[in-house]
């Protein structure tokens, strides 16, 4: 079982994250746009990853998660993102008490007690506090999503008051028409997302002495992490593989399930 190869695929609404996993370790990762056909991107990415390591598709255990998971017809195991982000997070930072994941179309906070998911909250009713909200703001401000950190200054921000992403867009347009500095507006957008996350964190209740782990693609933004740290008072940490936490968690869960019923 230790030398079994696993391919974990987290087919998100925006990005498809794929990992190759063996012996409880991440061997390689790959990220691409999910595109219109989640099955196709999942197939192509896993092919590419296997090719890099001269592996054939035979004898590989495929574990999938993310919104596209049901469409991926070559899965051996399918899990929801909640469980995958939790187990992926625990794999990356053993003993972590909670996970924050801001996805393309939802955001979630997961509470872990004794290596198990104890509770979770999910915002999937509206775009506020999700990656979609951030990319909308980037579009309006003419900034690349990847370069938020260079652009923003958290010390000075314009308050974004609208709870709704559509109205927030109008608010941003209003601020631009007043020639407000774009870095201030972007800082306001990050604050707004951080406040949404704060509400969920406070509802679940965590120990202030211990850190929370941020997973998902947006964990690469130091500015967003800092905004959440300031808003919540928690030490928010990340890991270089955090964007792949869902895919890694899928492998960990599949590994557990294979052991149960070989």
């Amino acid at each position: 079982m230790m030398d079994q190869n696993f391919v974990g695929i987290d087919s998100g609404s925006t990005m498809c994250k794929t990992v190759l996993f063996r012996g409880n370790q991440v061997l390689d990762t790959l990220m691409s746009k999910t595109g219109w056909n989640p099955r196709l991107s999942a197939k192509q990415d896993s092919d590419l990853l296997l090719e890099r390591h001269r592996l054939s598709r035979e004898n590989i255990v495929f574990a999938t998660t993310g919104y596209g998971r049901e469409t991926i017809d070559f899965s051996d195991h399918v899990f929801t993102e909640i469980i995958c982000h939790a187990f992926g997070g625990m794999h990356l930072v053993p003993g972590i008490q909670g996970i924050i994941d801001i996805g393309g179309q939802d955001s979630k906070v997961i509470k872990i007690i004794n290596q198990k998911v104890a509770d979770f909250l999910m915002n999937d009713k509206c775009a506020a506090g999700t990656g979609r909200f951030l990319s909308m703001a980037c579009d309006k401000l003419g900034i690349e999503l990847e370069s938020i950190d260079e652009f923003v200054n958290l010390d000075e921000y314009s308050q974004i008051n609208s709870m709704c992403a559509v109205f927030a867009e109008s608010e941003i347009i209003g601020l631009l028409s007043l020639e407000t500095d774009r870095s201030k507006i972007m800082a306001g957008v990050l604050q707004s997302i951080a406040q949404r996350i704060r509400q969920m964190i406070e509802k679940l209740g965590f120990s202030k002495e211990l850190p929370l782990l941020m997973t998902g693609g947006l964990s690469r933004s130091q500015a967003l992490m800092e905004a959440i740290s300031v808003a919540t008072g928690f030490n928010v940490i990340t890991h270089r593989y955090a964007p792949f936490a869902g895919a890694i968690g899928a492998c960990v869960c599949a590994h557990g399930r294979e052991r149960q019923s070989p």
Binding site: T80, E81, I82, I83, D106, V117, D124, K125
Partner: protein
């Protein structure tokens, strides 16, 4: 006597709906009066004692919501919008043929909707107290039950005798006993029926108007399920996580919650909702003064319109134990303030017993089916 007419757009209806209309029309043509009710607080016995058909008319489909929204605010509970919409569009046979509608001052949305509904149909509103244990509330509710009796007697030109009301109490109690027997079958592990099947029987029993036939059929159903189980039939997997559903009324469009649970490795063993345990649990005391006994029984139903809602907590706690529940799913409807606020107390109550809890808010559309599935699947995975 005036002739019972079908609605103007009858010919455009689907067959099942046409059958519903024709069925009720036949009852009306045979001289039966029809009374439509909304909440579980309406004392059905008083209506039955007049010889009238008593039928639930809370609506569970999004079909008439666009029409209702021409009058009602958009950000309102879908059950209220839908029910009003069915009155407006004449698409519900029970609503359409009702001689009288009976509502109560439960939530603010319903209470105010009844004012508008009263413009379309003859509507009687019972004033429901908001607390359940104090003497003033008990006295007031007793008087409201008597006021309903007077209203019905006047409306239908009948006198309810002592025998009538006692007979109605007995019949309704018998129904409760057999319905309870039915859903308590799911105490078995694994349960002999799925949650979807249990709901179908509980909900469907409202629309069978001949009590003798209904009781006979229900007893047959119970016997058949028992027999199959004893023969070793196990339609539900033993590893399925046992879920209790609580919260707002659940039927029709919101059965999507049950589907999401049962497609994800769970099985609904108990419903605390209006169509479920809380409507059925208590019997009317047959040895008490009838109207007093009726008032006492109905006022003890738990619902978030009551403050504090201790009866709901008591029933939930008991059901969690008796049905060996693995997890509790609460469903609230969009814009239902009382249930949404009470979620906090319910979450604490359930989690303090180390039972996983999740609350999902939904409406009558299919728009959130994928998200619901995702959340509830994660909830069930979390218990594995």
């Amino acid at each position: 006597m005036k002739e019972n007419q079908l609605p103007k757009n009858f010919e455009s209806f689907a067959d099942a709906r046409k059958q519903g209309f024709l069925h009720i029309k036949a009852l009306k043509d045979a001289g039966k009066n029809v009374v439509g009710t909304f909440c579980t607080y309406t004392p059905a016995e008083v209506i039955m004692a007049t010889g009238a058909v008593c039928v639930g008319i809370c609506s569970f489909s999004d079909e008439t919501i666009p029409e209702a929204e021409r009058v009602l605010p958009r950000n309102l509970c879908p059950l209220i919008k839908s029910s009003y919409g069915f009155a407006l569009t004449e698409k519900c046979p029970y609503m359409y043929f009702s001689d009288l509608l009976v509502g109560e001052t439960t939530c603010d949305g319903k209470k105010k909707m009844y004012e508008l509904l009263g413009e379309l149909k003859d509507t009687h509103v019972l004033q429901l107290p908001q607390t359940q244990t104090d003497e003033v509330s008990k006295e007031m509710w007793y008087k409201e039950v008597l006021r309903l009796k007077d209203r019905l007697e006047e409306k239908f030109g009948v006198v309810i005798t002592d025998e009538d009301i006692k007979a109605a109490i007995k019949l309704k109690n018998e129904e409760r006993i057999v319905l309870k027997e039915l859903y308590e079958l799911s105490k078995a592990c694994p349960p002999p029926i799925s949650g979807a099947e249990q709901l179908k029987v509980l909900y469907g029993s409202q629309f069978k108007f001949d009590y003798n036939v209904k009781l006979h059929e229900l007893r047959d159903t119970v016997a058949k399920i028992k027999q199959d189980y004893e023969k070793g039939e196990r339609p539900v997997s033993e590893s399925a996580k046992r879920i209790l559903i609580t919260g707002c009324p659940l039927a029709g469009a919101t059965e999507k919650v049950v589907t999401a649970i049962e497609e994800s490795g769970g099985v609904v063993v108990a419903y605390e909702n209006c169509i479920g345990a809380k409507t059925v649990e208590r019997l009317v005391d047959e040895n008490e003064e009838p109207y007093k006994a009726i008032a006492d029984r109905y006022l003890q139903i738990g619902c978030s319109v009551m403050t504090p809602d201790t009866k709901r907590y008591e029933l939930l706690t008991r059901l969690i134990d008796e049905f060996q529940v693995d997890g509790v799913v609460e469903m609230t409807l969009q814009a239902c303030h009382t249930y949404a606020v009470e979620t906090q107390s319910i979450r604490r109550l359930v989690q303090d017993r180390d039972v996983p809890f999740i609350s999902v808010e939904t409406d009558y559309s299919a728009a959130d089916s994928a998200q619901l599935k995702n959340r509830l699947a994660a909830f069930i995975e979390m218990m594995a």
